[in-house]
């Protein structure tokens, strides 16, 4: 457990009488990226909520940066949901800078801090554009920058490209890998896309159907698409 950015040990969780996760254990090393793949309803998003400290597991232990209390996990994790959830009344730059403003930074300083990232990550010229005028892919980029600007060591990406068309998704997967290489963070990415999991993360964990339990874990380089699909069917 010591030394891991994220450590999940024998975690079970559920809602009312419905078990959602059953005895899940996994680790993410500092700066590591892990893809969690599984069928719909297997508890992938719940796992992210638990890691982020938004919920407490019914059983098992979760530590982020060695800290187990929910408040400490919340202080170390930033969540990127499936929908971009950008605020329509704020410009793209103000949306991205929101975590800094939330942290008490003045709006001007927050915008100044966010602006260089727009230039570096292909959004230059769109700083003052309203979210509704951006394409789906650009909105997801802004949402990712917003997550990055929270200044947390751990990023939790919940099917970040699920709402995009195939071409844009592929383009953004490459963009994400590049972005995380430039701005290294420990990350868990939840997805139901096998290719996306293998392409974007060095390690992959496959969860079974509800209640989700780990049925396959390994390095992406050692796994084939068929290995993952077979595990998903098991």
């Amino acid at each position: 457990m010591a030394g891991a950015a994220i450590s999940i040990v024998d975690v079970s969780h559920g809602y009312d009488q419905l078990p959602v996760l059953a005895g899940v254990s996994l680790e993410v090393p500092p700066g590591g990226r892990l893809a969690v793949i599984g069928p719909s309803g297997c508890g992938k998003s719940t796992l992210l909520s638990l890691v982020a400290g938004l919920e407490q597991p019914r059983a098992g232990r979760i530590a982020v940066g060695g800290q187990e209390p929910a408040r400490e996990r919340l202080a170390r994790c930033a969540l990127m949901p499936q929908d971009d959830l950008l605020l329509p009344w704020r410009s793209a730059l103000d949306n991205a800078a929101l975590p800094l403003v939330n942290a008490g930074v003045s709006r001007r300083d927050a915008r100044d801090a966010a602006r260089p990232l727009f230039a570096r990550f292909g959004l230059a010229g769109f700083e003052d554009t309203a979210p509704r005028r951006l394409s789906g892919g650009m909105r997801q980029r802004v949402a990712f920058l917003r997550t990055l600007l929270a200044g947390k060591g751990v990023l939790l990406l919940d099917e970040p490209f699920a709402s995009l068309d195939a071409l844009t998704r592929e383009e953004l997967q490459a963009w994400l890998v590049d972005a995380l290489d430039q701005e290294p963070r420990s990350a868990i990415m939840v997805t139901h896309d096998v290719d996306e999991a293998l392409r974007t993360c060095p390690r992959v964990v496959v969860l079974s159907g509800r209640p989700g339990r780990v049925v396959l874990a390994g390095a992406s380089a050692d796994l084939t698409r068929d290995d993952v699909l077979e595990a998903l069917r098991s």
Binding site: S49, A52, L54, L74, C77, A78, L79, M80, P81, D83, L85, L87, P88, W89, L98, P99, L100, V101, N102, A103, A130, R132, R146, T147, A150, G151, K152, L156
Partner: protein, 243 residues
Amino acid sequence: MRRLAWIPALIVIIAAWQAWIDLRNVPDYVAPAPTGIGRALWDGRSTLASETLVTLREMLVGYTAAVVAGLAAAVLLHRVGWLRGAIYPLLVASQSVPVVAIAPLLVIGLGFGLAPKVVIIALVCFLPITVNALDGFASAPGDLRRTLRTLNASPRSIFWRVELPWAGPRIFSGARIAAAYAAIAALFAEYAGGSGGLADSMHDQLDTGLVGAAVVLLACLALGLFAAVAVLERIAVPWAREG
């Protein structure tokens, strides 16, 4: 063009109304003709103008009090969960108390000046604002609130930066409904005690032309306030209209 569609509709209604009065020889004391109302408006223009200003002042002060009180109540009930459970049903129930029942008490307590009228108008108008604001605060997506908690946001900043702006369109919906009530609430208030407003021109129910003239002016006040709130809405929450 659709925005001006009310003009021909109004002309048709007035023409049909005038035709009904003329063709059926409806006497003045039963219903005023549009021409009779027009005549009353012209003949009593000086008195009606000063009465309109009095009623307008009551409306604006009462309506502003309703907006402030309605929003304050909504914020309080939203932020303090147990208070919402305890007070919200009572607020809704309070609307079933007829204004005519409490108006005399307010006049006894607050006198014949502006104060009881402001309270009556605020009582009639505040609930749509409170209910719509509360629904608006709660309508911010749960996923957004959860995400923002991981993006350094405190409950207070989630309220100010997300829930309040998110509720903007609904707050304005409530404010527009309240604006439509404000004129009739002002009339209730004037009937309850003291006046100088348009209620004075409605005391003689047999002078239907003058009553009609006062009703027309009251409708204009309601429409004017409604339109002013709609304009303010366009300025304050342009993103809601642009979708």
